[in-house]
């Protein structure tokens, strides 16, 4: 395997290419939380198959890639209480803010969207502070 930063750059470019294809091909912003959330709350009913097929690709591609690259492990905590709280926060937060790392981060910053930039600043600041409190001070994650 290449050094982490090279893999990060290559993987990042694939993510950007995916967003470019989705935008120029289908005229849609590739935001993971919006694509999933529209299926959950029914707001994306009109193009639900686009969403389902996109998500099928997201799930299946790693299965293929892992046949010849890397070790598939999320190394996520097995503290299910923390995971459940985190999942609720991510689900509520991304839908209330109308975007996550892909929508506000990648797609928003690349078009110099003020909302995308501000959202990214806030979720990174909140994430950094959470690490300080829960890892550096409390030591629970």
């Amino acid at each position: 395997m290449q050094p982490d930063w090279i893999m990060g750059l290559i993987g990042g470019m694939l993510i950007g290419l995916a967003g470019a294809i989705f935008l120029l091909g289908n005229g849609k912003i590739m935001g993971a939380s919006g694509i999933i959330g529209g299926l959950v709350d029914g707001s994306g009913r009109s193009d639900k198959w686009d969403r389902v097929i996109f998500l099928a690709g997201v799930i299946l591609a790693p299965v293929l890639v892992m046949q010849f690259a890397g070790n598939p492990d999320t190394k996520a905590t097995d503290n299910y209480l923390i995971l459940a709280i985190a999942g609720l926060l991510v689900g509520i937060g991304t839908r209330v803010a109308n975007g996550c790392t892909s929508g506000h981060g990648v797609c928003g910053i690349s078009r110099f969207s003020f909302r995308g930039i501000i959202a990214t600043v806030f979720y990174i600041l909140a994430g950094g502070l959470t690490m300080v409190v829960f890892r550096q001070i409390l030591g629970v994650i």
């Binding site: 930063w5 893999m7 990060g8 290559i10 993987g11 990042g12 694939l14 993510i15 950007g16 290419l17 995916a18 967003g19 470019a20 294809i21 120029l24 091909g25 289908n26 005229g27 993971a32 999933i36 709350d41 686009d50 690709g57 997201v58 799930i59 591609a61 790693p62 892992m66 690259a69 492990d73 999320t74 190394k75 996520a76 995971l83 459940a84 709280i85 985190a86 999942g87 926060l89 991510v90 689900g91 937060g93 803010a97 109308n98 790392t101 892909s102 797609c107 078009r111 969207s113 003020f114 806030f122 979720y123 600041l125 909140a126 994430g127 950094g128 959470t130 690490m131 550096q136 994650i141």
Partner: protein, 144 residues
Amino acid sequence: MRYFIALLAGSLFGAGLYLSGMTDTTKVQGWLDVFGNWDPTLAFVMGGAIVPMAIAWRLTRVAQRPVSGGSFPAPPRPEIDRRLIIGSTLFGMGWALSGLCPGPAIASISFGGLSGIVFLIAMLAGMGLAPQIKARLDSMVAAE
């Protein structure tokens, strides 16, 4: 055609998330852990993703319409509201606690084990609750 494009984009997104290391929660938490053992990988992922995406936004000014028809997204709204700030803050907290955001949570379904499933179910529940919370935030604003 639009289904093929959705499948192609989804597959490249999933492959990119996996190869970049963003399905590895320790790398995401490591990037947010500025005062700990800081891991810069996520910055390279973001940088690598923003470049092709910025070119694509440029091309939307040249192209008349998307390949499969319809129209390009409207220009971004300029206003910063309470939803954006509160939502992003909550998201950032959950992102740090777990090391997962929505894309990687889906991409790791096949190998994330029970931890991934617990996170995913909670995330979907949160997404289901969000419209009510949005309505409540808006009514608070209206009451002021």
